[in-house]
Structures are given as structure tokens and as C-alpha cells.
Amino acid sequence: MLQPIEGSAAVAKAVALCRPQVVAAYPITPQTHIVEGIARLIADDDLRCELISVESEFSAISAILGAAAAGSRAYTASSAQGILLMTEVLHNVAGLRIPLVMTCANRAIGAPVSAWNDQQDSMVMRDTGWIQLYCADNQEAVDTTIHAFRIAERTELPVMVCMDGYILTHTLEVIDLPTQEQADAFLPPYHFARTLDPRKPLTIGTLVTPDFYTEARYANHRALIRAQEEILAADRDWEKISGRSCGRLLSVNGPYDADVAVLSIGSVMGTLSDAREQHPELGPVKLIKLRSMRPFPIDELKRACERVSELIVLERALSPGGGGIIGPEVRAVLSELHSPPRIHNFAAGLGGRDIPLEIYPKLIEAARAHEVTRFAIIDVDIDKLAVEDR
């Protein structure tokens, strides 16, 4: 049913549609409205669920780890420092192969303190072994949340649904909120093969010696790669029910033969799309929306860039001392192409800085330049820095 609804409230309702039995959370802006929404649904008896208001994000993720291991569908949401505080547990959940879903309301990381959006928080969690799906708008956030539970439970891997903080979480827009029947048709009741059960006592969380640790890591790696099939299946199956796709692992929008492409991730895709419409004079440009950061869609990326000669990678995080995070990965994958595109890697929109429509012509212009931009923060104003810090 279409309705104007704030992103966080919509995600809360999407979570509720998945009938979680345990939600644990600790407040951090901009994640708070999601958990407030769930608390409200529970208070109004629209959701039967144990809400644990824990004393830290560390305990939030730990508690839902326990809950999922004990046989309940479980969920949490967090942001920024909260995600970072969870770091140790995030690795642990993935290693234990426990199906969990977490919303990351993306936010910058201090210091300096910034309460505003970027994607540094989830990007530094890239290597935790979680599936990471990024949402371009709140409809995707709703649909991906529902996908996420099925993907997690079928793959026995945790899924992080990333949505830009404020830009999505605090924005009211019109969304088609699925019905309970649709959700139930898509998502079977929770089942975890290794549930903690006195009738069949298992020991979870063992010590593994060098004899088998490598194999354990390999198995996790393979599980993430194989999860691509479940991510695709979820999107397809949900499309049959809802009529909407979230863009598989990666989606391409624009002329097939465009030799310029912009690859980005998250909510900036819409701005880029509108900007492209405003600037037909800049020629045909393909927009590549990266949805699945992990597993990284290698084949899809290669296919999308086969005919591209100039690829701009725009991201909202960076690896200080290295450059971009997505950019180098893209560059590595596309180096396998027969004739790889030139890849221009930009970061923008850090710590809440607006990414305006005007970024688009700048990006295209940079792509046309003689020199490849290996990495740059496109919206930096170095005049604001002391000379020695430039």
C-alpha cells in the first residue's frame, strides 16, 4: 500500500512484517527512529517481540547473536561508532554462520565528531564476513530488509542492510509498504539448523587449530560468494510478489553503448539520475548502482563495464593513505577485462556534506580530462586548511 512515511518508520514496519522474535538495540543517531518505530509497534501490540534495550551496541549485536542461535529471528540496527563498537562481534557472527539482519543507518565516524551521513561505518566493516546490501531509496530499504531475512536464513550468513543516515532514514517519502500476506508468502518461519537445544546439545564457538582454520576461512569466503545466488533469488522472488526489484547485485541504468559510466552506491544514485536528466549535453552516461558490496559482484561488474572507456567511481568513504574503498576493488576486477576502462575514483559527501546536482558535470568533466584521477575527494575545499595541512 502506497503511503507517505519516514524512512525509519518504513523500515521498522518492514522489520515487523518479518515477524522477528527478538530485537536488541542501543540508541545512536540516526538509527534511533527505526528502533523507536519497533518499540511503538510492540507497545501497540502490532508486533509480538522481545525488545531488549541493551547498554551498548556491543551487547545489542551479542544479544541477537544469542537469540538467533537459540532459535529466534532477530534484528538490530545501528550507526557509526555503534557499528564500530560491534566490530568484534560482527566477525564472530559471520564466523559462527548465524543468520542475523542489521540495518546500518550510515553515518560518519569521529574524530572529529560528526553526526552526519557518509558510509565510512559500513565500509570499514567490509571484511567482517557479512553480506552488505546498500539501498538507494527508502523503498529499497523496505524491500531489502525483507530480502535480508530470507537471504540470511538460507545462507546462514548475517546481512547488513545499509541505508544513508538522515538522507534516507529521516526523509518522508511515498513508499509501497508490503502487506503481511506478501511478506509471509516470501519469508518462511525462522529455522536455524544449529539451534541451541537441550535435546540435541551442540557446542557452538569452538577453538580451531591451524589444521582447520584456513578451511574455516575458505568456507566463509565461499559462503559469501555463493550467497550471490540467494541475493538474486530474493530480489527475483520478491519482484514476483511485489512487482519491484531492488536492482539485483548491481544494476545499470542508461544507454547500453554509453562509453562513460558512473558507478556509485546508496542514495546518491537518485541525485545522479536527476542530474543526468538535467545535463543531456554531457552525452550518454550509464549509471551503475552497486547494491551488493559483499559479496562483490565481479561478473556483473565486468559485464556492465565491457563497453565503457571512462568509468567514474563515486563513493562516500575512503581509506586514508590508500584512496577509495570501492574504487580499488573495481579497478582490480576490471583489470581482468580485455580493454579495461580508465577508472576515476572520487569520494564526496563525507560527514554530511551535500552532494549537489552540480557534482555530475564535474565528474563527467574529470572523466574527459587527459589525466586519470586515481583518487580525489572531489568536494574538498583546501582553502579551509592550514597551509601545512593541505
Binding site: V54, S62, I64, L65, A67, A70, P201, L202, I204, L207
Partner: protein, 332 residues
């Protein structure tokens, strides 16, 4: 002399035919004489099979769960060092949501409880989850190789609080964890020791029956870290009680409601002498003598603070509680 071996069961079969349920099996990798291994098994005996255990990182975790083997007969999960109470909270919430009556127990060492997991524990207690948290207190980070924790007693030597020209072991006091636990006003908290299994089991049963959060601190000697003969684990634990060093208490809603009386109070040196970690206190230097006296005063303070002496012997005092007789323990 006929050996009972001549009866119908092989030893291997006997493991499955013990009259009490034992949730922790043989074949674990604990040091010889480990107090914690004993404590954990006693705990599982008192709880029975219908339980889920969340275990913090530490010796107990490592020596019971080296893949592909496990020593546990109950469902058991280890996640991390500092999150066992949170994991247990989640398990409890899940069971509640599912309408399952299975008990939830969290286990940790003193490092995981007094130090790194204290926040998580505080959260679990404050939310009053129906979980029994049991800390096996061996008074240092033994798993890492004997390093001081906030539970390490004053003046005890560890690898990170060595004694030397400028130091007499740990400079600080043992953290009064029970007072912190008590401040959460939970329904039940207690201390116990592996030296008094019947008392320990009774407290585990009490803690598990209580609706809401319960906490149990179990003094568990570590032959490696304390530097005593493995055969003396029980002896040393008993002396900790009989000297007043480790008071055996029960607390309800933050108030101490029972304190095990010491029938014959022993001097603290009786407890310290068998332990290598206090060896430096016996070198007859003025500093050593001061510290010995300090430890005696700490014990005396406990005795005064918790009124650990009585005019009359009591059935469950330090002598009565471990009385055995023909056919079993008196209070089992």
C-alpha cells in the same frame, strides 16, 4: 580385595551411567587439578540437562571446546570475551518469545566478569534477565598466562604484577564485585567455593529457580596461576574461607542475608603459604611483613564486616558444610 571393575559396565560405559547428570565430560584440556573445571562440572550437575550455556572467553571455554571435540553435554555457545551476559540475554529473550522453559546460564572467569565483561553483565542484571551468571574466580587472567585482573588479591604475584625490588606483587585491592552486583538490586547473588560442593550446588539451584537475574561468584583455585600442587586445590580453597579471605555470602536485593560462619578461624598465612604467588611475602623483609599483616587485616575486616564468626557451631558453618558420612555428603 575385589575391585568394582569386576561388575557389568566398562569404564567408558560408566560415563553414561552416572547417577547425577554431568554437563561437563572428561577429556577436556584443563590443567591437572583445575578448580574451574571442577566448578563448572558441579554447576552443571546442579542445573541438570535443560539449560543453554553462554560461555565467555577464558580457560573454561578453551579447554572444553577445541574442535572437533566438546566436553559439554548441554547446548553451549561461546561468542567472545566480554559479551557472554549479552548473548545470554538474547538467548533468554528468544526462549521467552518461543515459550520455552529451558534455563539460561552464563559462565565467565574473573577477567571476563570483573573487567572486560562488567558492562555487559551490568546490563544483563539491570534488565533482570532470567539468567544465572556464574563467575569462576581464579583471580587472574590465567588463559593468557597469569596476568593480573581486578580480581587478583592485593600483593599477589602475577606475570604483570611481579614482585621485585620495587614491588610486592599487585599494588591494588581485589575489586568488591559482589557489592557492585548488589547495587543492581537483583533477586539473588552469592559467593561459593569449589571446596564446598554441596553449598555451591545449593546456591546454583537457588539461582536457577529464581525468576530474574542471579549471580554466583565461585572461588576456583588455579594450580598453575596460584602456584600450588594440583592436589591441594580444594585444600587451598577451603583455607580461603577459613581464614576470612573469601567470605561465603548470599545476597538478596543487595542485602547480605546469610554469611557462612567460620568455626575455627585460621591465620591468613595458612592460606598464603602453599601458594607460590604469595611466596615473596615470606622473605622476612619489612615490606613482606607489612603486606602479610595487611592481608591479615583484610581478612579480619571481612570477618568483622560480614560477621563471620559465631559463638556456637552451626550446621552450615565452615566445618559443618562439608561434613561427609557413610554413603555421601551430609548436605548434598
Amino acid at each position: 580385595m575385589d575391585s568394582p571393575r569386576s561388575n557389568s559396565h566398562t569404564v567408558a560405559e560408566l560415563h553414561h551411567k552416572q547417577p547425577a547428570f554431568r554437563g561437563l565430560e572428561a577429556g577436556h584440556l584443563a590443567c591437572s587439578g583445575c578448580g574451574q573445571a571442577l566448578g563448572a562440572r558441579l554447576v552443571t550437575e546442579a542445573i541438570g540437562p535443560d539449560v543453554i550455556i553462554a560461555n565467555a572467553t577464558g580457560c573454561l571455554e578453551v579447554f572444553t571446546s577445541a574442535w572437533p571435540r566438546s566436553s559439554w553435554r548441554v547446548p553451549w555457545i561461546h561468542s567472545l570475551f566480554e559479551n557472554a551476559p549479552a548473548v545470554a540475554s538474547g538467548i533468554e529473550a528468544a526462549l521467552k518469545a518461543q515459550g520455552r522453559a529451558t534455563k539460561v546460564v552464563a559462565l565467565g572467569g574473573d577477567g571476563g566478569t570483573f573487567d572486560i565483561g562488567l558492562q555487559s553483565l551490568s546490563g544483563m542484571l539491570e534488565r533482570n534477565h532470567n539468567v544465572l551468571y556464574i563467575c569462576f574466580d581464579n583471580e587472574a587472567y590465567m588463559n593468557t598466562g597469569v596476568h593480573r585482573s581486578s580480581s587478583t588479591p592485593h600483593a599477589a604475584m602475577t606475570m604483570t604484577s611481579p614482585s621485585g625490588k620495587m614491588r610486592m606483587g599487585k599494588r591494588h585491592l581485589k575489586k568488591d564485585l559482589l557489592a557492585i552486583i548488589g547495587a543492581h538490586q537483583i533477586p539473588y547473588a552469592a559467593t561459593a567455593t569449589v571446596a564446598y560442593p554441596s553449598d555451591l550446588r545449593a546456591k546454583v539451584r537457588r539461582g536457577i529457580e529464581i525468576e530474574g537475574a542471579a549471580f554466583l561468584l565461585v572461588h576456583s583455585p588455579c594450580p598453575l596461576g596460584w602456584g600450588h600442587d594440583g592436589a591441594l586445590s580444594i585444600e587451598v580453597a577451603r583455607l580461603a574461607v577459613e581464614t576470612g579471605i573469601f567470605p561465603i555470602l548470599e545476597m538478596e536485593r543487595g542485602n547480605v542475608v546469610t554469611a557462612m560462619k567460620i568455626r575455627d578461624v585460621r591465620p591468613v598465612v595458612d592460606y598464603l603459604r602453599p601458594q607460590e604467588r604469595f611466596h615473596h611475602l615470606f622473605d622476612d623483609s619489612p615490606e613482606a611483613r607489612d603486606e602479610l599483616e595487611h592481608l591479615q587485616q583484610l581478612a579480619d575486616h571481612n570477618i568483622e564486616r560480614y560477621r563471620l564468626t559465631a559463638s556456637q557451631p552451626e550446621a552450615h558453618d565452615s566445618e559443618g558444610v562439608d561434613t561427609v558420612g557413610r554413603g555421601g555428603m551430609r548436605w548434598s
